[in-house]
């Protein structure tokens, strides 16, 4: 039995509120249950210096938790003067995941930054971030297409992410904070609509796992991402 009463392959409620902020070219507030992340897409008409004059664009991600997104207040990274290893790891994952579904040549020499700011955390903040970032990116690209700035759509597919883990011996989907704190294994999958994998990361925490365990987690992730793809579709339609 999961602490939340959910079935092992049951996602939390997914909600996506688009246009949550007015300045960004694309934005949404995505919720996986009590985890809520504000995702914005910002378009700049230039690329970082090391990419200039190659006719290609860039997509990157940034991630942060508000200090009191969590049960106990964490110190502010800006005050500490540096981003933690965890933050940097997640930022790199967000950027790689979104670039997996963007044709950077079609994007042209512009950069889109996906800011994922966690307003409230209850497990799965990085997977909600990736899933919401795609929505913000889609909306921003839509407006570039509508204005004629882009002639061809650089987005090749949907991308979504979900966590799974082994909790008290059972593989479960979309862990909340309580499950996450006690899981024997903790995995994050970034999947592309159509069945391909962009990223798989599975870490043993208390107990290790085997090939069979890895496959069972991957199959749960495929179910979860199917549900997220439907929510993304509804949000951007």
């Amino acid at each position: 039995m999961r602490p939340s009463g959910r079935a092992p392959d049951e996602m939390r409620a997914i909600t996506i509120e688009t246009g949550f902020t007015k300045h960004a070219e694309g934005s949404c507030l995505i919720s996986f249950g009590d985890t809520r992340v504000l995702c914005t897409a910002s378009v700049e008409n230039s690329v970082p210096p090391w990419m200039r004059n190659k006719g290609r664009g860039w997509v990157t991600g940034e991630y942060s938790m508000l200090p009191r997104a969590t049960h106990t207040r964490g110190s502010r990274e800006a005050a500490r003067g540096k981003q933690s290893g965890r933050t940097q790891e997640i930022q790199r994952l967000i950027g790689r995941s979104l670039r997996a579904v963007v044709d950077l040549e079609k994007l042209g020499e512009r950069q889109i930054t996906l800011d994922c700011d966690v307003l409230q955390a209850d497990g799965g903040t990085r997977t909600a971030s990736i899933s919401g970032a795609w929505v913000a990116l889609r909306l921003a690209v839509n407006s570039l297409l509508a204005s004629g700035t882009l002639k061809a759509d650089p987005i090749t597919a949907k991308v979504a992410a979900v966590s799974c883990g082994i909790h008290q011996g059972t593989p479960v989907l979309d862990l909340d904070y309580i499950e996450d704190s006690n899981a024997d294994a903790d995995a994050n999958f970034v999947l592309i609509e159509g069945g391909q994998i962009a990223e798989a990361q599975a870490t043993a925490e208390g107990a290790t796992y085997d090939e069979e365990g890895l496959l069972r987690l991957l199959r749960l992730a495929q179910m979860g991402c199917g549900e997220i793809f439907r929510a993304q579709e509804a949000a951007v339609r």
Copy 2:
């Protein structure tokens, strides 16, 4: 005529949504028109080292803008590795303003941190932060009173803040971003319910001003804060 069509002494719509996040002891999302700030109050049962064993508590503020709260994306202070002078100035102002209405001895040896994170900016983010922080503080203290942790209420009054300025020769209340960018003088007043001043800051931008100008700005602020006090009262009742 103001760009927004408002009368010189007219505030933007004020909304205060309490309980916006579930982990904080007190929280609200406050809006002054399109300016939206998430304010949370976090209670810790200890004080900073330099205050220990004095039988008194501490109230402090932190402030940040999400990178895309503004028209063009700003870089993240955590990524730059330091907080700007502007951020630090605002943080210090938030802390001082709230401490002006708290009896630190009644609070006992605990610290309350007021985090003000600007989700969307349209002028007046520091004054909305202070006004919302009071609501978050009030809610957090209410729960400490309800649980019996505090025996006597350490909050002595309401505190609110509002900006005013001289725009095209006319003193106006609660500047939005367009007015703020073109004001000849820019002032922020932090007022205490009942008529006292906690803080007055008035800066000449294009043109300087005189004693009469300062008084007219103060009187606008008194009107504006009156309205904020009523919204705070409604929010916490």
Copy 3:
């Protein structure tokens, strides 16, 4: 009765020793009683990148206290690796105050940096800094005019600053360290010769104050700045 025996509207002795250092284009050592600040003006023939090719110049301020300017030694900001919020707040105030009396277009594409280094502190270091910085600036601009580098004088007026406060119920002028530590309200006014206000900042410390209190502080500041204007005039003549 003030600890120093001064009357409520009595400034400390003001001395301004010009040419205190030989390399700077303008310099002075200003004293407000035991508060002593070395102010230098450095002219550079370029402006920061974000201001280039606009035909306008820039005036900026920097501020620091020597570690043992104070009663007990403070750690060196260069050793800590960052400037405190207080330092940054004061630096921003110095820059704004001086820019209030400079026509940046007449200055042309050059930057003048006003360094204010506190050799000894006894209250009022920021106001002495602003008052001395004007003298250093005046001397530097005089040399640019004398050499023909500048054709027209970009300085439009004198600017001076003074602190006031409410000490044991009485509004007093130019607080020294002992008064400053015990004041109920603490204000800094930056005034322009002729009666205009460049900046007013008044903070309640122990007790709050009202409109009448604010006006009384402003009037003391007008008296104090009058005296500083005379000292500045004598120094640069």
Copy 4:
């Protein structure tokens, strides 16, 4: 055909020179072909503050590349003043991987730090680091057992890591730099002797991959780690 002429499931030559430095409690220079990493294990008789008085120890990893370990010189992280996201990600992985085979209670209140410094890089530096760190750890623990400091062996198994990837459509084992730069997918597996998985990370670079691809990479990793386990055994015997 692989650029190196190796078969798809062929590792590069593995060499492990133990006792490479004399001060560390355990050390080795491990080579996977031209990738050479100096691994040292340092024992401290205390744990970080957040772990004290729990009767448990800690194992952590640090990682760095010498500036000219690579084809073109990289700047020194100590000179830049911060560790890159990549470095932090690898450090966290090294620590987690080694902790997967250590019983922290048997270790007692002491910390073992595994420093992995890459002297020369040719692909697979993180996997060589983990594999060599186990040898350094084993040697350090052996000396703690020999001296009677530890009564029971806290190491529960061997751990090793290897990279695999899809190169020109073919899954290959132990990528060198040339292959790594052109791989469609890049994976790192951390395996425990006996068949369990401690960590699986697979990232699509150019093309994405599917479940079948993930399994084929895992099977190559199992072959590669088998070979590393034998080299580790020979080194520590």
Copy 5:
């Protein structure tokens, strides 16, 4: 012929103004010609953590140049966020030099920090700093002896420092900025009254030098330090 017209073994005028600041336990403004350094000694009744409970004290030095002490303005180290290698090298030299004449056991568990802040630079700032720091230290220790805090004098001798160099083939004493910029060799000697050497540093700049050159520089330094010892004696008497 030296640019200044001085004889090869002629020092610049030395002046030492004691009591330049009122808060420090000892202070002086020392000038070697146009080089002017404010030296203060601050006594703290504790030592750094790594020295505690050993019954010994510590003497340390800090050094900084005001931004416009030099011909062209340098950026402020506090603003850059770190101290330069040059600053750190000089700080370490100041501390070592003063510790060479202090019996740390007689000092007891207290620390004296010697702050050397260069108000104006014209060559030889580090040697003026060391020479002035001794005066500040002597005055601070005198007051500790006078108050009975110290029973026995921990200062064992005078210490002074001077620069020498080879300028256009001629060994010269006490280089000013113009000479220093063109010297073939640049040396700093820290000497103890009575003839012993605390520190010798001689660096070839354009041309290298030989044993004979090193000895000639040392003899010039002995002459120069003799003169500084007399100035120190006069200042503290």
Copy 6:
């Protein structure tokens, strides 16, 4: 009697293994007894911004100790976020020493960086670094001459460095860690083949020393460097 049983004028065994890493234009692993330093020379076809368009090159040094090069593990400078004063002092010395034997005009507009990474420390790491850096530089320049990139050899002579000190009253050559920890005086000499001095640094630790002592240390250094010059010659031939 020296702890190592060496005669006062006896160096430790010197070994130089060239080509230790394959990517650098020049590299060696140099040992002075148990002190082992990896030195690499990296050629870049540009110079730092402040040197551009002057037709001259630059030679610079960087230095680091691996965390467990020493008896007890030191924290990593990259993790602490800054280089220590000691590291910066040594880096500056390495750069100056090598520039003393390079004709920067013949080098043309390119920079050679000499990285000295201490793999194992047992006293004398800075002198082994300088001596090994010359070998790496020589090898890198040889390859630039062989490829025709350079037409004329910019290296004018050999440079080597060695430490000496006064240990229990006796001047000794090439101190190991035990001697270094107990020496009364500690000196480093950088000498140029043929008899000239590039740098002399002699510091009193416990006891001070006199002119005679300085000369005796210099003569030991001349003997030691003679031996190093022969080892360098054998290594690069």
